[in-house]
Assembly symmetry: C2
Homo-oligomer: 333 residues x 2
């Protein structure tokens, strides 16, 4: 990929505009993932944190804060907080999903064990909690406490509802808000709050994060059935093998004939999968235009994200956030 193309990515433009803040966030993350007594903690954390993740969530906090005129360093602490919550969630997710690859590398639960992933995740939650407490804003604590509850509830809901073919798009949206959009929305909202932004700006930032997160997750679902392991750093078909009812499948199930329904019952509800089933699933999704329909939904959420920023004053960072909403769906158009 050429330098010019790289520099045009809104994510990279944000990283460039927020470079000093991001350096401070990275330094803070390294300092706070240390443990005097338990070296396993920084080992496991570093494996994940330094694997080249996009740092999208902390960047959203920094962007929202700077867009709203933040000074001081509280927004840096909140950005690190958000990344710690995200990292803790990833560690636990990989245990729950029995994943073997994350960000193109073996997962921590594979390299160490499930125990380390559970306990180091707990440690990072606790660290995030210390960091946000240091900021001294009860409203910020309230937002992040509520987001944490929505995240955990969404994960449990996914666990229990995932293999139920009766899952509707409405339930899907609840799960997605829990697993992705709640933290995106909290990330942008606390950025506005800590900068002392007016209420309508804070609300707009929360809406932006929510819609961006939903769009982001639908794209992730689509890539799991159509991207390449090389480009997304995870195994194609993970969701199918884990019997997750993602948006394309929900749409295809709604239109399934008897034979197709029997296929979904066997592979998703009963989990009896054989070689060739993933390709068969992909063929059914294509037959009903389920991928196209999910793609349209992702685009609509992306537009909603972009539109929500219109109440905010003109600012280079606002433009980058708008472009980011476009870029999230660019992977699937």
């Amino acid at each position: 990929m050429g330098l010019i193309e790289t520099m045009h990515k809104p994510h990279d433009r944000l990283a460039s505009a927020l470079a000093d803040d991001m350096a401070a966030v990275n330094a803070l993350i390294r300092a706070r993932m240390a443990s005097e007594h338990a070296p396993r903690i920084p080992e496991v954390t570093a494996h994940l944190v330094e694997a080249g993740g996009k740092r999208l969530r902390p960047m959203l906090t920094l962007a929202a804060a700077r867009l709203c005129g933040a000074a001081g360093d509280a927004h840096v602490k909140l950005a690190a907080t958000v990344e710690f919550i995200h990292t803790a969630t990833l560690l636990h997710d990989d245990v729950v999903d029995e994943s073997t690859r994350r960000r193109g590398r073996p997962t921590a639960n594979l390299l160490w064990d499930n125990k380390s992933s559970v306990l180091v995740g707990d440690y990072l939650f606790a660290r995030s909690f210390q960091l946000m407490t240091e900021c001294g804003s009860l409203r910020v604590l309230d937002i992040l406490a509520n987001a944490s509850a929505v995240i955990a509830e969404g994960e449990v809901l996914q666990l229990t509802a995932a293999q139920d073919l009766a899952t509707t798009e409405a339930i899907y949206l609840q799960v997605v808000r829990g697993k992705t959009a709640a933290l995106f929305a909290a990330a942008t909202e606390v950025g506005g709050v800590i900068a002392g932004a007016p209420e309508d700006h804070v609300r707009a930032l929360a809406d932006y994060g929510d819609a961006l997160g939903i769009s982001f997750q639908i794209v992730d679902d689509l890539l799991d059935y159509g991207g390449s392991a090389d480009s997304i750093g995870k195994n194609i078909g993970d969701d199918f093998r884990e019997r997750k009812l993602t948006l394309p499948v929900i749409k295809a199930v709604a239109q399934a004939d008897a034979a197709e329904r029997a296929f979904w019952v066997r592979t998703i509800e009963q989990g009896k999968q054989v070689d060739g089933d993933l390709e068969q699933a992909q063929a059914i999704l294509a037959r009903h235009g389920a991928m196209e329909a999910a793609r349209a939904d992702a685009l609509a959420w992306s537009l909603r994200a972009r539109g929500s920023l219109s109440v905010l004053p003109a600012h280079p960072i606002r433009g980058m956030l708008e472009d980011l909403a476009d870029y999230v769906v660019a992977r699937i158009v």
Copy 2:
């Protein structure tokens, strides 16, 4: 056990003196463990919360708060917070330890699965975080955030140091502070803080919780090698099978001859255990007076807990807390 004997237990006297508060705590726990969307959450939580645990930690918060003249209902919220943190920790502990029994019943990870235990534990952490934020005290949040970090660090330390025969009593104490005493100390400390107690009283309450927790854990270690499954509701020898270097073993290792050292290396470091090893371990512990020495340590910590309360004004609840310190070690004398 007769009614009179039961009523003499300091724990039951505390429960009686704090009955209205405890009823409010129990109602709050039931209300906050609900989940509109994910019924698995209250199912798993109820299994553990309603299994007849002693509610020791929330009672400590209530006792400290009332002893310091608390009014309002913030202390009730903090007591529920502490119980949620404890319950979350138990759910994750049972996954990490691969336990099959807890409070005399099959563990949640056995009845449901590890995934549910991990995610419901996360949900309860988030709920505890919401509850404490509602109290609106940044100092309370700071205490509980720090306790959460010490707890998680202690668990990881136990995971990595547990099977190392070089573990000293000093390291053991760090682990114990993490796994037990940090939450005991936070429970009593936040009770004092929320009641607006003077600094020396808050300090005394934190010291009491710390020493009580250490004493409590050493007793737990002792019972694992000497109690009965019936009386403690867990399997005898769990710690040995899980290759945990608990205090009696650390003391015996320090005095081991070559044959005994080889035994500990094989059973604890290498984890190669065969039938009869538990009995052999018990014989070695007895031979070196390791059980007696650990018992003496537990008693010393119990006395320290009792003594730390001397700065507090005379109050029926103070007397019950002093008696509780005695009672914790009564199981082993």
